[in-house]
Symmetry: C2
Subunit: 239 residues, 2 copies
Amino acid sequence: MGSPRYVTIAAELRDRITGEKLGPHTLMPSERELSETFGVSRMTARQALALLEKEGYVYRRPPRGTFVAEPRVPFHIGSFSDEIILAGRRPSAQLIWAEERPPTPSAREALDLAGDETVHALHRLRFADDEPIALETTYFPSAITPGLLERPLTGSLWHILRAHYRVVPADASAVIESIVIDDASCARLQVRSASSGILLTRRTYTAEGRCIEFARDVYRADRASFKVEARIPVPVEGG
Amino acid sequence: MGSPRYVTIAAELRDRITGEKLGPHTLMPSERELSETFGVSRMTARQALALLEKEGYVYRRPPRGTFVAEPRVPFHIGSFSDEIILAGRRPSAQLIWAEERPPTPSAREALDLAGDETVHALHRLRFADDEPIALETTYFPSAITPGLLERPLTGSLWHILRAHYRVVPADASAVIESIVIDDASCARLQVRSASSGILLTRRTYTAEGRCIEFARDVYRADRASFKVEARIPVPVEGG
DNA sequence: CCTCCCTCTTGGTATATACCATGTGGTGTA
DNA sequence: TACACCACATGGTATATACCAAGAGGGAGG
């Protein structure tokens, strides 16, 4: 084998996970244990686990150990909750803050607000089975969601829109980007600093074409396999 | 400072890059050099550089050294070449293989081919200023591109379609995914194994709605900031 | 019973050292 | 001049060791 030793050890462990079908959250051998069974130093065993972590096969929770990870959640644009349920897991949300305030320039432009109109801004951490998956920042025009901030905000926002404000989301647009997650968000998402993420900048519209939601969602790239279908016109000339 | 030492060293180097405006491809101090100037071991200096590499600030080219990286290329769906030029860099392509053969099932379905129809399949590595950025695998129905494989295939394929086959791309659709890049592709893209990537599965259509190109493009997530605009209908009920 | 505390194990960080493969550049040679 | 070769510095890998912070679990003491 021409590969470095830690790569072959990672391959062995990977096979053990997929082949012997170790279930999610199964405890893996510790670094010290692996170094002994494979006859390598601890740093080498550590590199193998680090590779598997980067690939999304395992996650590490000091000082408890290293565990088999859940499969990635395959997302589409639309309802976070629906996608999580479709993956056979339990969606939830934790409200970080919620307030009424002047919109950011991009939110004002997206929601087509007048100079003095405010927004209801929400920052929420979203989970699948208590595993943090994404950070949402959502903006609604305050005018169409009076009293929103007094409601329980740990469930589906679209459901609240429909049930209490007679606002029916009809379609949505999104810009997707691959980013490096900032340190504060890394802490919230429980990933190490400078992890890669997917930034989704969303707009939701009513059937009449009014934009009633502007959102910036940061997903963990290691937990979400993101799929977005886009259809775009091609310029007349191009490379 | 509560952060680990290597994080503060990375921050210092990051400031040096952005603050003193070190140009792309500037040689950074070596690991051994850094370990001496910061008074740490080489492994600690190494971790600092590894962090900057993950963030996309530097790239490493053994045994030459560590260099300041180019800024990410902001992509849209459409012409690879156009986006690269827009970023002020020089696009190019290297043909890895090209052949006529039966389509893969997904290519057959996308291109709506009969049972015996073949495709022209191309595998190309795409560059910005000699820096590998993406791996394309492209399929055309052989029937509409006779003699394609005898042409020079290191430039714009859409240009060839227009100029030689009277086929005019009118619009395109894409599915975007965040993935872990396989080892062979990692080698081609000159990134370490298990790096994160963006998988773009594209379809190109004529004005008449005929699909004339099916492609799977793997982009380096550390070099490309990917933007895709999507507009999708929202289901009647949902979370 | 409950609570405090202590120990054990874990991954995270750090040091010091060593050897390898490989582009680069200089040097010696034909 | 041209070419072959070799030393050098680089990042990549690997060993051995050490200490730290923090959750888990058990035991002592109330």
